[in-house]
């Protein structure tokens, strides 16, 4: 007996190890059984929206959908934004990507366009048809595209000439502030709306020390919103020089072409202004904010270590619930320079537009076994009632016309009038240049403002700024122009490759048209001709002309800048079209004014 006990004692470790193994095996296999009931259509959704409430809202909608379609099971992959880019790349390459994929995070814009052309299903077909889940609402019978607040413009990818994605919500960014702390440190009830006054308030906050003897931080981390809502707008004049397609925005390839042609560079005044404003505001962020993640900025604000944070409606609900009982949360618009501001006044004294603000785009994986079910779920999610339910649950603004948001979010409704952002996505072409931009730009931002010279005197901020900016320009410009060319070539190659998918689609439409008769055939043939025209005129021409510009085989003509003769011709044409008599020849002064308009 004693020997047996001893043997058992000696074998305890092995028994425990094997026991744990058996438990793990049992757990794994029984869970699998539960996960995939036999015969079920299993649909997967991949996204990075890990804000509190999003998943609960999504699961609720999924339950509703599963109740309607008992043979469908929807599984959600919740991926943090920090690894989303790598994750989706590997999943797409490995053909294991979810059926419905959120688009836009963690990878350069051109890479997403490349992925969309390779791995995603075009949704142009359904854009023109009504959403069946809108039955019984005021949107019944309306084309799907018209049911979105932006007319599905954001889902249309110009480079591919297709609708590739649909948004599920609207987001705007605002300046959130801690009312109690602001009052305590500055005596103010709300932050000033004037930019210079705001900086003075930040100075006042920073001059005061907390219980540990450390200076208060005026603005918590998370700089992205400042960039897009304030600094980038200063670069709008650059859009007028680079917007070759004249669609009111610049894509990364257009910006690159303008830089390559020498029309734009970092000495261009709007860029200098943008950098200057960034430098001024970033002075009031915590040290090392470039290394902080979004949640760390929010964490600092909630801990009442900072007075302001700039973030979007995606964080609004969470901020409100976390601030409850601790401090009163205030919301304000971004401070703007006054009209008489000597440096920024001419550009930024106007209101700033939010744009259409639709966000959180989802697309359908072309390799999905259940492509039709995936599309159907997207239709369900973006139907008026369901989109309203979803966004009310998560405290966001719906993307669908007529869907109402909760009362709390109403002050965040987008402002459509005002100044629009300038050069998109900063200044990079693709992967390598984006990494380099992030490195050099964050290096510039991270310059230590407390540096002292050899005599022990603090180096003036202005001097550090100028040196830092010069270093940034020198380091980045050469790399951007050299490596950017390789990335640009690859970008064009990818666009050409996407034309193959386009051809497949149009050939399919033509084949269907030939098998039908009458009006159906006519309609499809019209669509086919439209596709073909789009392909030949837009895609092929656009790619060929851009390639020629990059190789400097074509002269770069700055858009929105016309010769007096051209302006006169245009004016004359317009008069003729309106049936008005010819006007005397305008003076050069007049034409220049028109050009500015």
């Amino acid at each position: 007996m004693k020997a047996l006990l001893l043997k058992i004692k000696n074998s305890m470790a092995a028994i425990a190890l094997v026991g744990a193994f058996l438990w793990s095996a049992l757990f794994i296999f029984t869970t699998r059984e539960k996960e995939y009931p036999p015969g079920a259509i299993v649909l997967r959704i991949g996204h990075w929206q890990l804000e509190p409430g999003f998943r609960d809202a999504l699961y609720e909608i999924i339950r509703d959908y599963e109740a309607l379609h008992p043979n469908v099971r929807i599984v959600v992959d919740n991926i943090p934004e920090s690894i989303y880019g790598q994750w989706i790349t590997t999943q797409l390459m490995g053909s294991t990507a979810p059926d419905i994929i959120e688009i836009g995070m963690g990878l350069p814009g051109p890479t997403w366009i490349n992925y969309m052309s390779r791995y995603f299903t075009p949704l142009s077909d359904i854009a023109g048809q009504p959403n069946p889940y809108n039955k019984g609402t005021d949107l019944e019978g309306k084309p799907y595209r018209s049911t979105f607040k932006d007319g599905l413009l954001g889902g249309y990818v110009e480079e591919l000439q297709e609708v590739m994605k649909v948004p599920i919500c609207q987001h705007t960014t605002r300046l959130f502030y801690n009312k109690d702390l602001l009052k305590k440190l500055t005596g103010l009830d709300k932050p000033p709306s004037d930019y210079r006054e705001f900086l003075a308030v930040c100075d006042k906050i920073r001059a005061q020390k907390d219980a540990n003897g450390l200076s208060y931080v005026p603005i918590a981390g998370y700089f992205t919103s400042w960039e897009s809502r304030l600094f980038q707008i200063l670069t709008y004049p650059a859009v007028l020089k680079a917007d070759l397609s004249r669609d009111g925005r610049t894509s990364v390839d257009e910006t690159f072409l303008a830089f390559r042609a020498g029309v734009l560079d970092f000495d261009f005044e709007p860029f200098e202004k943008r950098m200057k404003m960034m430098w001024e505001v970033s002075e009031y962020l915590p040290a090392g904010y470039t290394g902080m993640k979004r949640d760390e900025g929010v964490f600092k604000f909630i801990q009442q270590q900072a007075v302001f944070i700039s973030t979007g409606t995606w964080d609004a609900g969470s901020l409100l619930s976390q601030a409850k009982g601790a401090f009163e949360l205030g919301v304000a618009d971004y401070p703007r320079p006054a009209k008489d501001d000597p440096f920024y006044g001419d550009t930024l004294a106007n209101p700033i537009a939010d744009g259409s603000a639709v966000m959180a785009y989802f697309g359908v994986n072309r390799a999905s076994k259940y492509e039709d079910v995936a599309v159907d779920f997207l239709l369900f999610l973006t139907s008026q009632k369901i989109n309203e339910k979803f966004n009310r649950r998560v405290n966001w603004m719906p993307a669908v016309v007529g869907a109402k948001s909760v009362e709390f979010i109403k002050p965040f409704e987008p402002n459509y009038a005002g100044l629009y952002a300038g050069i998109d996505n900063f200044v990079y072409m693709s992967g390598a240049t984006q990494v380099r931009w992030q490195q050099d730009y964050s290096n510039f931002q991270a310059i230590n403002r407390e540096q002292k010279d050899e005599q022990g005197n603090k180096i003036p901020s202005e001097k550090l700024y100028k040196e830092g900016l010069a270093k940034f320009k020198k380091s980045y410009t050469a790399f951007y122009l050299e490596k950017g060319k390789a990335d640009f070539d690859e970008f064009l190659r990818n666009q050409r490759r996407s034309s193959f998918n386009h051809d497949q689609l149009s050939a399919g439409i033509r084949a269907r048209a030939l098998t039908l008769d009458g009006a159906d055939s006519e309609g499809l043939l019209k669509k086919y001709r439209g596709f073909l025209r789009g392909r030949l005129l837009m895609l092929d021409y656009s790619v060929a002309s851009k390639a020629a510009l990059a190789e400097k085989k074509l002269p770069y003509v700055i858009p929105y800048e016309y010769t007096p003769e051209a302006l006169a011709r245009m004016k004359e044409d317009a008069r003729k079209a309106a049936g008005q008599p010819a006007d005397p020849q305008p003076s050069p002064a007049d034409t220049s004014n028109r050009a500015n308009e």
């Binding site: 590997t90 999943q91 979810p98 490759r497």
Partner: protein
């Protein structure tokens, strides 16, 4: 070892069956990806549908890419610090070894093992979130102890760039000036479990006679360390050094967790492996990423060869020494010429100068002075006499005892000091786990009521599936590794079979191959054989990765088993399989335990491969799941810390249960190599 000739193979052919599964496994999961990597490194390849030959284009681009070379400089700095970070483990091992009380020795060993086996990823995340935050524990400690004033003074005096000021807390992971330091500091006091136990095992092998003889000679505690212990554990230090070099080159996970994929502001902490991941998964330049992988492999191989040559310098022939020197001069000159790592180039040239020869030439220039300094001799003799005299007088005895006690007290104090720091991450995990966020913000360091035990329940729900997955994968891969490696070790140790030399070298080469270099082709392979997003993939790749080290260790062990036993069994008509079962297996319990524990921990802690090949939340291993949980926008610290603790507990329990076996295994030969 008996050599078998080709014509005798037909009598022993079945022994090849012992190596066959291993060859298949490493052939598929090691050699194929490596070959595919070499092949694709000559293509502009996006990992999917674009594959256009570019010749040496990828390599030439890399050679011209300054950021690539900068990444090696970062790896070099981190590597040098990693070598420095080996010292605490060595000192702790010596201190524990010198404990006279066996129970205390065991207690220390157990206490050290607990914090040391916490998964590195968990430690990194704790350091990033709780220590390196400007309002985190590190800055609090620096301000609390007044060290920040010292640093601010040093900053002011030596113009360090205003990184440290007394009014603004430094940002360790946000400031380019401090990020590299953060990558080095994390994990303080850097006492690795494997290193301590390896050193301990070696130290325990030192004969007591050596110490007794040293005591008679009146050797000091320091001389005992430098003259006895250090030389006798040199082989384990060398082994760990090679591991450190390989780990430094291939490690991307730590930097990824601390500084994201960009490598921090200015990409300041980009190491080669991170550079490769960026090429692959951010820029979609898979071909270029493969080229980086090939260069990494060559660098590791070169470093390994170099470290072998340096460690056996005196055994090298003059010609061998000259070859090494010349290679180093060429490498040094090249790095100076191209301006990459120029200071390192100068250092390399200086190190490999023939100092012995230069010294001899300088000595020859001096006048020979062979007079014996009688005065000095008398001084030494009188010092020795005084030493013995004082130790026999009552005051001398008291003094000696006091000195002895002070030394012992100092030793225990040092151990407890290091222990305290080592236990800090574990302490934080346990203290924070029952807190809600408000309690955590107010007071993260001490327990606060009410305790939210529901956090553990939430954590259990969150991590149970991943715990089960991790355990299943780690256990299966470990058992498979041991089973296959023991067979392979038997093949190599029993006879010198035809081709065994070739196969042995082919396996040894894999030891130097950084796994991360093959990541992309391996991913492609798993996709092609439909194993992506399956636990089977992790088990098979884990088993193949573990083969090399396990065979390397087990082969030495099997070789040491007396041949008489095998011969007796052969006379009795035992087959090779029976010899394995009846002789090798019963004798190799401790060594299998050691290798098994090491493999289990390696599998448990691996997260780079699962991060890339796994998709479904329900199939994720625990490390990837923790990484995902840490990426929430609104972190709930209590459940997160409870999750960290749950991920650490199985490893702690495993180590505590198998520690005796582990140390015995190490003593019996795991570190022979």
């Amino acid at each position: 070892m008996r050599a078998i000739k080709w014509r005798q193979v037909r009598h022993h052919w079945e022994i090849y069956l012992f190596i066959l599964p291993t060859l298949l496994l490493i052939g598929i999961f090691q050699y194929y990806p490596a070959s595919s990597g070499i092949y694709h490194s000559f293509f502009r390849w996006n990992g999917a549908d674009i594959s256009e030959p570019v010749g040496w284009g990828n390599y030439l681009d890399l050679l011209k890419d300054q950021s690539f070379w900068r990444s090696f400089r970062v790896a070099l700095i981190i590597g040098l610090w990693n070598i420095f970070k080996m010292i605490p483990a060595l000192l702790v091992a010596v201190c524990i070894h010198r404990c006279r009380n066996v129970k205390m020795q065991y207690l220390y060993r157990a206490l050290f093992v607990i914090p040391m086996v916490i998964p590195p990823l968990v430690v990194v995340l704790i350091w990033r979130n709780l220590f390196f935050d400007p309002n985190g524990l590190l800055n609090r400690f620096l301000y609390g102890t007044g060290l920040m004033n010292v640093l601010a003074w040093a900053d002011n005096t030596f113009s360090l760039g205003g990184v440290f000021t007394s009014t603004q807390a430094p940002a360790w992971v946000g400031s380019p000036a401090l990020l590299l330091a953060a990558c080095i500091i994390w994990g303080f006091p850097w006492v690795g479990s494997f290193a301590v136990l390896t050193h301990l095992a070696k130290l325990q092998g030192i004969s007591k006679d050596v110490y007794e003889a040293a005591d008679i000679d009146g050797i000091s505690w320091w001389s005992r360390f430098t003259r006895i212990e250090l030389p006798l554990i040199a082989s384990s230090i060398y082994l760990l050094l090679v591991f450190v070099i390989i780990e430094t080159i291939k490690d991307a996970g730590t930097i990824l967790a601390l500084a994201n994929i960009e490598g921090g502001p200015g990409g300041i902490v980009t190491v080669p492996a991170l550079f490769m991941l960026r090429k692959a998964f951010f820029s979609q330049e898979m071909g270029a990423a493969c080229a980086v992988g090939i260069i990494l492999t060559l660098v590791v191989l070169g470093l390994q060869k170099l470290s072998t040559a340096v460690s056996r310098w005196k055994e090298l022939s003059d010609r061998g020494q000259m070859t090494v020197r010349l290679s180093m001069y060429i490498a040094g000159c090249a790095s100076i010429y191209f301006g990459f790592l120029a200071p390192v180039g100068v250092g390399v040239i200086l190190i490999f100068l023939p100092w012995e020869w230069i010294g001899k030439q300088l000595d020859a220039l001096r006048k020979p002075d062979e007079r014996i300094d009688n005065h000095k001799l008398q001084l030494v003799e009188s010092r020795i006499a005084r030493k013995f005299q004082t130790s026999t007088t009552p005051t001398g005895i008291v003094m000696t005892r006091m000195k002895d006690r002070a030394l012992r007290g100092g030793k225990h104090l040092a151990i407890w000091g290091v222990l305290l720091f080592s236990l800090l991450p574990l302490y934080l995990m346990l203290i924070v786990s029952p807190k809600d966020n408000a309690q955590f913000y107010r007071n993260p360091m001490v327990p606060t009521a009410p305790f939210h035990w529901e956090n553990w329940e939430a954590a259990w729900t969150m991590v149970t599936p991943s715990l089960a997955n991790s355990y299943f994968v780690s256990f299966s891969a470990t058992v498979l590794t041991l089973f296959l490696a023991l067979g392979a070790a038997y093949f190599f140790a029993r006879y010198r079979m035809p081709l065994s030399g070739f196969l042995w070298n082919a396996i040894l080469v894999l030891m130097m191959l950084p796994a991360i270099a093959n990541l992309i082709p391996l991913f492609q392979l798993l996709r092609d054989i439909n194993l992506l997003n399956t636990l089977t993939a992790l088990i098979l790749v884990g088993t193949s990765a573990g083969q090399v080290f396990a065979i390397f260790v087990l082969r030495s062990f099997v070789q040491d088993i007396p041949q008489d036993l095998f011969e007796a069994a052969e006379i009795d008509g035992a087959s090779h399989f029976r010899q394995m079962m009846m002789i090798v297996l019963p004798l190799s319990g401790p060594i299998l335990g050691t290798v098994g524990v090491m493999r289990f921990i390696a599998e448990w802690n691996d997260f780079v491969l699962p991060l890339i090949v796994m998709r479904d939340e329900i199939r994720l291993p625990v490390m990837v799941q923790l990484l995902r949980l840490a990426g929430e926008y609104h972190v709930l610290w209590g459940p997160l810390m409870a999750g960290y603790a749950l991920a650490s507990i199985p490893i702690i329990v495993l180590f505590l249960m198998s520690m005796k076996l582990f140390v015995r295994g190490l003593t019996e030969g795991a570190t022979k190599g």
